[in-house]
Amino acid sequence: MNDTAIKVTGVHKNFKLPHQKAGSIKSMFTNVFSLGNHTYETQHALRDISFEIKQGEFFGIVGRNGSGKSTLLKILAGIYQPTKGDVQVNGRVVPFIELGVGFNGELTGRENLFLNGALLGFSQKEVEARYDDIVAFAELERFMDQKLKNYSSGMQVRLAFSVATRLAESDILLIDEVLAVGDANFQRKCFNYFRDLKKQKKTVIFVSHDMNAVREYCDRAILIEQSKMITQGVSEKVASAYTRMFTEELHASDSDSSDTKWGDKAITYQKVKIAETVLSDQKHLEVQAVARANQDIEDPIFGFSVTNSAGTTILGTNTKIKRQKLGTIKKGQTVTLDWKIPNLFTDGTYYVNVAAVHADGVEVCEWWDGAKTFKVVNEESTPYVVGPRIQVKVEKEGS
C-alpha cells in the first residue's frame, strides 16, 4: 500500500496582474497597439515548493498573511493549477476553505445540505446515509424544512460545520484557519473536532498562523515565507522557526509604531522601556515607564497591562490595586515606574499597555495601548494562555 497521501514536487505558481484590466474589447485593442509595453506584471505566489504528506498525518502549513499559504492550499484542493511542478493526490480531497460554500437562503436546510454535499463531491447515497447524523449533530431536526434565510446565524454555522465535519470521513481534509473563527463555544467545538480527527488518524492539512494550534495538533509542518518554503519538519521545530522569524524582525524595528494613545494629557508618558524585548526561560519581564505631569494633579493612578497577540489582556495591575497613594504631583514633575513580572508567558508576541488615570479611576489622563512589544521564546512551550513553570513528578509503581 502506498502510504503517501499528497506529494508536491517543485510547484511554482505565478499570477499575472494586469496593470489595467483587459476586460473589454476597447482595452484589448489599445493593448494590441502597444504590444511593446508589458501590460501585466507577474507575481510569484509560490516558488519551488516540494513536500510529502503521509496517510494519517496532521500536517501544518504555516506562514504569514500573503506568504502564499492559501494559494498552496488552493492548489492542493485543485482549485488553482500550478504554473510549474506537480501535485499527486491519493484519495479524495475535501477542502474547507470556508464554511457553507454555496449555501442559499432561499432553499431549505435539507436542500442546502444535499447541494453542499454534492458540491463537495459526495453522492446522493453518501449524503443520505449520513443525513440523520448531520442533522442531529447540528441539533436542527425541527428546522430542516425551513428556508435557510429564516435560520439564525448560529444555526447556519452549525449546519455548515456539521455538513463539513460529518461528511468528510475517510478523506484528506484541507482546513483553512478561517474555520476557527467564531464565538468561543464554536471554537471549542472546532478544536474538539480537530482532536477527534487526530485520534482517528485522518489525513489533515491545516493552514494557520496560530502556532499554539500547530504545536498541539500537527505532527509535521512546513513554513512558507515570501512564496518560498523556509523549513519543514516536526511541528515544534517549524513553529519555533516561525516565532523566531518574528523575533528577528522585532529587533530590526524596535520602535513599533502600531500603538494608540488617548486621554486628556494631564499626564503623559515620556518613555516606556523593556529591559529585554525577547524573553526566554527563567527571565523576568521588566518594564520601566517615565510619566510627566502637565498640570498639578492629585492622587493619579498608574497602571499597566499585557495583551497577547490574540488581543486578550492576560495580566496587569495599577497603583490603586497596590494601595500606593502618590499624593499631589506638581506640574512638570516626573514619575518613574518599574514593574517586574515573572515570565509565565507562553511563546508569542505580547503588547505592553500603560495608563495614567485620575483619582476617580474613570477619567483617563493618558492611555497608551501597545507602548511596547516583546517576544517570548521558551524552551518548553504549551499551547495555552499562560505557561508558568510546572513541576511534574511521575513515579511508576513498583519500579
Partner: protein, 256 residues
C-alpha cells in the same frame, strides 16, 4: 451526476420564488410572444406561411427559438455567476453549463406540451417521419450547448461577449425564418439563411412535426444532402467550443 441534479433543482426553485404565478411564467412568455406575433403577422398582415396550420407553425417556431435563447443567453453569465463557488471548491466546471442547458431543456419540453395541446385543438396530420424529429432536435441541442460552453468561458475574461451575444441574437431572430415565410426572400438569400444550423433544424422540425409543406434546406437547394453543411458547422462549433472550455476551465478560479 448528483451535482448536476442538485444544481438544476436549486436553480429551478430559485428562479420562480417570490413570483405569484411561479413556474407558469416560463410557459406564458412564449405564449404571449406568440399571441402578439399571431395577431400582427397572421391576422393583420395576413402573412401566408404556405401551411395549413399557421398558428401551430408559428408557435412551434417560437418555442424552439426560446429554447435556443434560454440556453445560450443563460450560459453567458453562468460560470461567472457561480464564481463564489469556483473560488472555494473544485468540481467539474462543465456541470454548470450542463445545468443551464437542463433548465432550458425542461422548459422546452413543458412548452412542447402547450404546443401539443394547441395542435390537438387545431388538428394535425403526424406521420411516422415525426420520429426523426428528436434527432434534429439533438443537433440543435448540441449547437446550443457548444455555443453555451464558448460564451460562458469567454465571458470570464471578456465581459463584452454578453453585449455582443445580445446583438447576435437580435440578428439571428430576424435571420431565422421564425415568424416570416422564408420564401418571401430572393432565392440566394434563402440559400444563405438556410445554411445556418438554427434555421435548418427549425425548418426540419417543423417539416417533421407541423406540416410537410414547410420549406426546408433541402427544398431551397433542391438537394437533401446539403444538410451535411449545417450539421458539420454544428459539430465543429461543439468540438471547438468544448476544447476551448476545457482549456479555459482550469483557470476560471483565478480569473473570475
Amino acid at each position: 451526476m448528483i451535482l448536476l441534479k442538485q444544481l438544476v433543482k436549486s436553480d429551478f426553485k430559485l428562479r420562480y420564488q417570490n413570483s405569484f404565478l411561479g413556474y407558469l411564467w416560463s410557459l406564458l412568455k412564449p405564449l404571449f410572444l406568440f399571441a402578439i406575433m399571431y395577431v400582427i403577422f397572421v391576422k393583420i398582415l395576413s402573412v401566408d406561411f404556405g401551411v395549413r396550420n399557421s398558428g401551430a407553425y408559428l408557435l412551434f417556431g417560437l418555442v424552439v427559438w426560446s429554447f435556443f435563447t434560454e440556453l445560450t443567453g443563460g450560459s453567458v453569465g453562468a460560470i461567472v455567476g457561480k464564481g463564489d463557488l469556483l473560488r472555494k471548491l473544485n468540481f467539474p466546471k462543465y456541470v454548470i453549463v450542463l445545468a443551464t442547458s437542463c433548465s432550458a431543456l425542461i422548459n422546452f419540453f413543458l412548452n412542447l406540451i402547450v404546443v401539443a395541446i394547441f395542435v390537438a385543438f387545431t388538428g394535425i396530420d403526424l406521420s411516422w417521419s415525426a420520429l426523426l424529429a428528436p434527432l434534429v432536435f439533438f443537433e440543435l441541442f448540441v449547437l446550443s450547448l457548444g455555443l453555451g460552453f464558448f460564451l460562458s468561458a469567454t465571458y470570464v475574461k471578456l465581459r463584452d461577449i454578453g453585449y455582443i451575444w445580445d446583438v447576435v441574437m437580435q440578428a439571428l431572430f430576424y435571420g431565422t425564418p421564425i415568424f416570416f415565410p422564408i420564401t418571401l426572400a430572393p432565392l440566394w438569400v434563402q440559400k444563405m439563411l438556410m445554411i445556418s444550423p438554427l434555421a435548418q433544424t427549425m425548418q426540419d422540425m417543423r417539416y417533421l412535426l407541423i406540416s410537410d409543406k414547410t420549406t426546408t434546406i433541402g427544398t431551397v437547394y433542391g438537394n437533401e444532402w446539403i444538410r451535411i453543411v449545417p450539421v458539420s458547422i454544428t459539430i465543429a462549433v461543439a468540438v471547438i467550443a468544448g476544447l476551448y472550455f476545457r482549456k479555459q476551465s482550469r483557470f476560471f478560479a483565478e480569473e473570475i
